[in-house]
């Protein structure tokens, strides 16, 4: 399916591009839809396409044998993939859809052509890479210095701030991930996630069911999230 310039302009990063680059982009980009639980690309594979997420959710992760670390959960408007294109190195992470998604997709050869022909587009692409870099630096900090309780609180707090909707008890958002995936995101075992969720619920900080999570005491969750372990 074709991509329109208007659709491209809705993305903050691409809105400022000049008309010439936008024309080149809409010529090459395709609009695609993918079902839930589909592997978009694999860690260690050739440079992937660039995906500009229009709707739905994706997890970015690294896996080795039976261990998995979720690195990021992009939201609408975020870009993912293609970061290894400048070096041609194996892709640094895998991406799997969590829900059905809609995305603008730019294949690696087309992206390379855009980078070769349009120096202005190089700066946009460099910004994509440095944004992801900042995200990973924060993740490293959290994994190194925050304990599991604080990291889970930080994940819930961030999700409440970026995706939450007002609810009479507090802020509500989709549960989205399984308990194992919360464990993979926080860097711990599933049992620890079960116990930590239960502790948060028993103390009235959150209420969670199979589909949703409600943040009932934002200040308490904030205090837990910003505690750095000794």
């Amino acid at each position: 399916m074709m991509v329109s310039k208007e659709l491209l302009s809705q993305n903050q990063l691409f809105a400022t591009l000049n008309g010439r680059i936008k024309n080149a982009l809409v010529e090459k980009a395709i609009l695609a839809e993918y079902p839930a639980r589909l592997d978009l690309f694999q860690q260690g594979g050739a440079p992937s396409p660039l995906y500009i997420l229009l709707s739905g959710r994706v997890k970015l992760y690294r896996q080795s044998k039976d261990k998995c670390q979720i690195l990021a959960l992009p939201i609408t408007g975020d870009c993912l993939g293609a970061e290894s294109l400048p070096t041609g190195a194996p892709g640094p992470y895998s991406a799997t859809t969590l829900t059905p998604i809609k995305a603008i997709v730019l294949m690696p050869d087309d992206l390379q052509e855009l980078l070769d022909d349009h120096p202005d587009f190089q700066e946009i692409f460099l910004k994509l890479i440095t944004d992801r870099l900042k995200q990973f630096v924060t993740l490293v900090h959290d994994l190194a210095f925050r304990d599991v309780t604080s990291r889970l609180a930080m994940v819930l707090l961030t999700r409440a701030e970026t995706e939450g909707l007002p609810h009479h008890e507090g802020i509500i958002f989709d549960r989205l991930l399984s308990q194992q995936e919360y464990a993979d995101l926080v860097g711990t075992a599933r049992e620890v996630i079960y116990r930590t969720f239960k502790r948060f619920e028993d103390s009235g900080v959150i209420r969670a069911d199979r589909l949703t999570i409600i943040i009932r005491d934002h200040d308490a969750l904030h205090a837990i999230a910003f505690h750095e372990s000794h």
Binding site: T87, D131, F145, H230
Partner: protein
């Protein structure tokens, strides 16, 4: 720290992999704006949270990049040796350095100041391309560090650090890091590193010597991730 603004030669810059493909003209214009600085072992090059004003290239020695928690715990992110580049990219909203850089040995750095970086990237797409490669490699490294911290055991992390920072020669493979520095790089404390190295020694995988570790059987240190090449 000493600065010698005029002593930077174009030939020196060719030693930096990110500049290998740049034509002579660009190399000379870079050499005219870059600054050479020297640091002594242990000296701080910049602190986490400082204004990110420049790009730094290692010409000689090793620089460790670390993050520090509010209560003083240190996590090493990587060691930068000859040819590597570090520092944030002030052009792309990285206004503050996300980590601290500290000289591990006697270090000589080439520095590309912020104003020169701004001017050069505006008129030189090849330099932007070089930056893309640098940050793309760093992204790969950080995604790996995240995985190691989040899903590996402490023993896996120490083993991985030993392989990552090993100096390989025909005679032997050595790691010239103290237990304290190895602990910072693998996200644990010195006592745990010392205990683990003793265990590896009893299994004949390493030999501990003063100030260095000799790796006798690299295969005994293989981390759980099979897609990384430590050869």
């Amino acid at each position: 720290m000493t600065a010698d603004r005029f002593a930077l030669q174009a030939d020196d810059l060719r030693e930096i992999p990110a500049f290998h493909k740049l034509p002579d003209e660009q190399i000379h214009s870079l050499a005219s704006v870059m600054v050479r600085r020297q640091y002594t072992p242990g000296q701080i090059i910049f602190l986490e949270g400082d204004h990110a004003g420049s790009l730094w290239f290692v010409f000689q020695g090793r620089v460790k990049i670390i993050k520090q928690s509010l209560n003083g715990r240190i996590q090493g992110l990587c060691l930068m040796d000859r040819g590597k580049c570090f520092g944030s990219c002030p052009l792309f909203d990285m206004e503050k350095n996300p980590a601290t850089a500290q000289a591990l040995d006697q270090v000589t750095l080439f520095i590309l100041p912020e104003d020169a970086l701004q001017q050069l990237t505006e008129r030189d797409p090849q330099l932007v391309r070089a930056l893309m490669s640098i940050y793309s490699q760093r992204l790969e490294h950080l995604s790996r560090v995240s995985e190691v911290l989040g899903s590996w055991t402490v023993a896996d992390r120490i083993n991985d650090c030993l392989l990552t920072y090993a100096n390989r020669s025909k005679q032997q493979t050595t790691v010239e890091l103290t237990h304290e520095k190895l602990a910072a790089l693998s996200g644990t404390v010195r006592e745990v590193v010392t205990r683990h190295l003793r265990l590896l020694e009893t299994e004949g995988i390493v030999r501990n010597e003063s100030g260095r570790i000799i790796i006798l059987k690299p295969a005994g240190l293989t981390p759980p991730c099979s897609c990384e090449d430590h050869s």
